[in-house]
Amino acid sequence: MKRWLIPAANAFAVFLALLALWQAVIWIFHVAPYMLPPPLAVGKALLARRSLLLNALTITAEEAAGGLLASVVAGTAIALFFAQSRWLRRMLFPYTLLLQTVPIIAIAPLILMWVGAGMSAVTLIAFIISLAPIIANVTQGLISVDENFVQLFLMHNASPAQVLFRLRLPHAVPSLFVGIRIASGLAVIGAITGELYAGSSRVGEGGLGYSILYASTQLQTDYLFALVAAATVLGFAFVFIVMFLEWYSLHRWHESARPLEAD
């Protein structure tokens, strides 16, 4: 039997047990379906509204992916700038912490006011929330190069650009992936949070956040649960894709990414 099959079967067993527990709670405590729908009802809602759900999922996925991609590009660029001097870092680094600590819920309405409701506003929110971990991790990776390597480059009359792009940047790639892994979860959360405020350009049609809000006001609790499940799957998919990309780009040389079969 394949080695991954046993843990996969175990994980699936846990999933089934949780569903059973859920159903048991409903039977024992006589919970009303609009408070806690039975698992089967959620499954039915999932099937019945699959095209609407898939549409919402696609919208949110696009926003989160757009925000994440933008934060990778911008965050790396900012980190390259920060790597230039300690002085710059001391001066500007506290403001990247600000990005991390400002409650996104509090600034989302502001962004909507400035950009206008819609996908671009939500993408911007996903971008803002996922930017800080990229900047912090890539900067750390860029500046933590061993001094001997720098001297080696200098011995060959390397230009500052060569030191930056042939030494510091490749050295920072593993840290970049640590940043992306954190940011990918945040981007999905940011997109859904943004949608709670941004609403939709067309009535009844919007991303997961919008649909969650809509379903809750309509007391469509079974659909609400289906949406929550979809949001979870989306976050999971993001992390999984990032982990695969990380493995793909690092497995040949980096200690953290041993060949898949190794353990």
Partner: protein, 257 residues
Amino acid sequence: MSSAAGIPMIQLAGVAKRFKQGQPVLDPLDLEISKGEFVTLLGPSGCGKSTLLKLIAGLTPLSSGTIRVDGMNPKNARELLSFIFQDPTLLPWRTVAQNVCLGLELERVAEKRRLKKVEELLELVGLTHVSKAYPRELSGGMKMRVSIARALATNPRLLLMDEPFAALDEMARDRFNEELLRLREEQKWTAIFVTHSVAEAVFLSTRIIILAPNPGRIHAMLPVDLPFPRTATLRTAPEFDLLAASVSRALRGAITT
């Protein structure tokens, strides 16, 4: 002075180094090294061996004095020299061949010539079969070989080595010493070598400079008049033991003063 009467490769005049706080690392020293010499710097920790090497490479600023490498300021002479560190300092994201190629790439050598040179050097150090491997797949000795190949790829006239074999076991170290001399025979570079090992110093050098610590200064210079080519059998020859004994004596003197 005991320097061979040749064409000077390195001239140090009144060279001194102090830490930022003012403590002296190296007292003012004068030294001339001729082309073709293999000079070993030997001494206890804190005698400024590595500092001296870095000064010659132009990697750390002088506090006073002048250094000339082939008549030039060290920074302008970088094309002439290569540095081998104690650590192999291989870039982990590059294959063996790409690591050997690094210096050529940074010096913007055309790709065709680069590939030819890399192939030639991998052959020379016996690593052709692992040219596409990544450093993490190699043993410590193989990594050091890559590091040597990389240093030699840019055709250096002067090779600066900072305890390159310190991390290897003694048998590997002996083998590397023999190989280093073979490469020198072929390529005729001048070498400055830092080590803690008396046997290594005697085997490799044309001249041994013993440094004393706190602050670093030249304690003694001993010419090594053993003929080249030197092979493994030299280590068991009586004249080798005699030289090693006198070097050890001088080294003890450097520690107790």
